[in-house]
């Protein structure tokens, strides 16, 4: 199992465990994390799964693919260098303990 810590916009922290191979978005939705919607089911078509990687973690997450770059352009909240589509990040043992921050809104 891989552990992920979600930090909501108001600072509330929720930790969930997910099987390796699931996306961060899937782990969030399955565990009822409010700040991630995932409207398109992970098809990189909606940008409602926008998260910010914790700066301390950014280096251990694989870079954005082009499709993610394109889609992030239309995320509702501000897009920064740490912005990611959480449906495009697969949880691997190497990402255990990852901290992601949630935007104020996905719409």
């Amino acid at each position: 199992m891989v552990q992920v810590h979600f930090v909501a916009h108001d600072g509330t922290r929720t930790s969930v465990e997910a099987e390796a191979g699931t996306s961060i978005m899937a782990a969030a939705v399955a565990n009822g994390i409010d700040g991630i919607v995932g409207e398109c089911g992970g098809a990189a078509m909606c940008a409602t799964c926008h998260v910010y990687l914790d700066p301390a973690d950014a280096a251990r997450v694989p870079d954005r693919a082009e499709i993610e770059e394109e889609m992030l352009d239309s995320a509702a909240a501000e897009v920064t260098g740490f912005s990611r589509l959480s449906c495009q990040i697969t949880l691997e043992p190497g990402l255990d303990g990852l901290v992601v921050h949630l935007p104020q809104s996905q719409h």
């Binding site: 899937a26 939705v29 399955a30 565990n31 009822g32 409010d34 995932g38 409207e39 398109c40 089911g41 992970g42 098809a43 078509m45 909606c46 499709i67 394109e70 889609m71 352009d73 239309s74 719409h107």
Partner: protein, 397 residues
């Protein structure tokens, strides 16, 4: 109050509150949208399928391709139903609406009272009135049970005939391409996805599917089934061990019509998604609503439409400002083709190819000299820009 209820039963009887019938994208989004909008009263969601409501678009794509191992996501985790006080009745279908008493009849024989009712009952697969195409004789693909039945048939299957070259039929063909199962797609119209996209986009996808090995036959009329084959009107026999019908859907309007609500190709609503009874709303695939991007009311089958109408009704019922509708949009993913449409084009609208690199295709649709829709294949940025730029057809007073 309990959240998840495995049997068809009312969890609490203190007050009637809002009942949402149908636990697809629209229904679930509306239930949680009510809480997000600050509604504090009772919310009850009833869903005909067993289990936690989940997303459907992956069923014809990743779920099928992975043979059911990439399970589609629940819209919301089970814990959230409790936390947000959404009473959920699974495996529970609506059987009747008594508008005078504001009381619903449920499939287990019980009654459920409502103050406001939201109908999000969706649509059913169209059944072809042909010999050998009855229920149980052919496969369909709409909900999880359909998908599981299809996946269960795949081992050992050699030839699959798909009736209908719309989004679902083509997504299935793409998901099975290269699997060793020979797929034949039979379409009555002259081109694929003819109701939804331009001739140019149709041609792009026809090339794609033929290139992936799908036997795509256009302009053919299916007549009947024989053991091991589908027979066309001209007598041609198409060998098939199984048949999947993906010939569109029909909105589930029977109950609404029986209750005296105005219906047509869907339950008719106003701009705020109210039916002809102001205590009853209709959203999602079942609803026929005015749309700012169309001259006449439309019934749209899309995730974007379902979630938008759900949020608008939730805001209205919570007494909050109703968010403005956005440009309608749709997507489909077939093999190497990521198709997006923004705006509402009609088949007769003019098309203008903006970009065609072989991999990327961008087609504008025009009506009366005005841009009404943009169709993009593998051009996400342009699609996203169009979702901000396409002007409405009409603005309600």
């Amino acid at each position: 109050m309990t959240g998840l209820s495995s049997t068809c039963r009312k969890a609490s009887t203190e007050m009637a509150g809002i009942v949402i019938a149908g636990a697809g994208q629209a229904g679930v989004e509306c239930a949680f949208g009510l809480r997000a909008a600050g509604y504090a009263g009772e919310v009850t969601l009833i869903g005909a399928e067993p289990g936690l409501p989940g997303q459907r678009p992956p069923l014809s794509k990743s779920y099928l391709k992975s043979r059911g191992t990439e399970a589609p996501l629940p819209f919301r985790g089970a814990a959230l139903y409790d936390r947000q006080r959404i009473g959920f009745l699974a495996g529970c279908a609506l059987r009747g609406i008594d508008r005078g008493a504001r009381r619903l009849a449920l499939s287990d024989g019980r009654a459920l009272d409502y103050d406001r009712l939201v109908l999000a009952t969706g649509a059913r697969n169209r059944v072809l009135p042909l010999p050998g195409f009855g229920p149980g004789e052919v496969l369909g693909l709409r909900d999880l049970a359909d998908a599981d039945m299809l996946i269960a048939r795949l081992p050992g299957l050699r030839r699959l005939a798909v009736i209908g070259a719309g989004f679902i039929g083509l997504e299935v063909a793409a998901a099975l391409a290269g699997s060793g199962i020979a797929v034949t797609v039979l379409e009555a119209g002259p081109r694929v996805m003819a109701r939804a996209v331009s001739a140019e986009v149709s041609a792009w996808f026809e090339r794609l599917h033929r290139g992936m090995g799908t036997d795509l036959r256009l302009g053919v009329e299916v007549a009947r089934r024989e053991p091991g084959a589908v027979v066309l009107a001209d007598g041609t026999r198409i060998a098939a061990d199984a048949v999947l019908v993906a010939a569109g859907v029909v909105p589930d309007t029977n109950l609404a019509a029986a209750a005296g609500l105005a219906t047509g190709n869907g339950i008719l609503t106003d701009d705020l998604h109210r039916s002809s009874d102001p205590a009853i709303f209709a959203i999602g695939d079942v609803a026929m609503a005015p749309n700012r991007w169309a001259a006449d009311p439309v019934r749209l089958e899309s995730v974007a439409n379902a979630t938008e109408q759900a949020r608008r009704v939730a805001a209205h019922l919570a007494g909050k400002p109703v968010p403005d509708p956005a440009v309608p949009w749709f997507w489909s993913h077939q093999g190497a083709g990521r198709l997006q449409m923004a705006g509402l084009a009609r088949p007769q609208d003019a098309s203008r190819v903006i970009e065609d690199t072989g991999e990327v295709l961008v087609v504008e649709r025009h009506r009366g000299g005005r841009l009404v829709a943009l169709e993009t294949v593998n051009a996400l940025r342009l699609h996203m820009a169009a979702r901000k730029a396409i002007a409405p057809e009409r603005v309600p007073a």
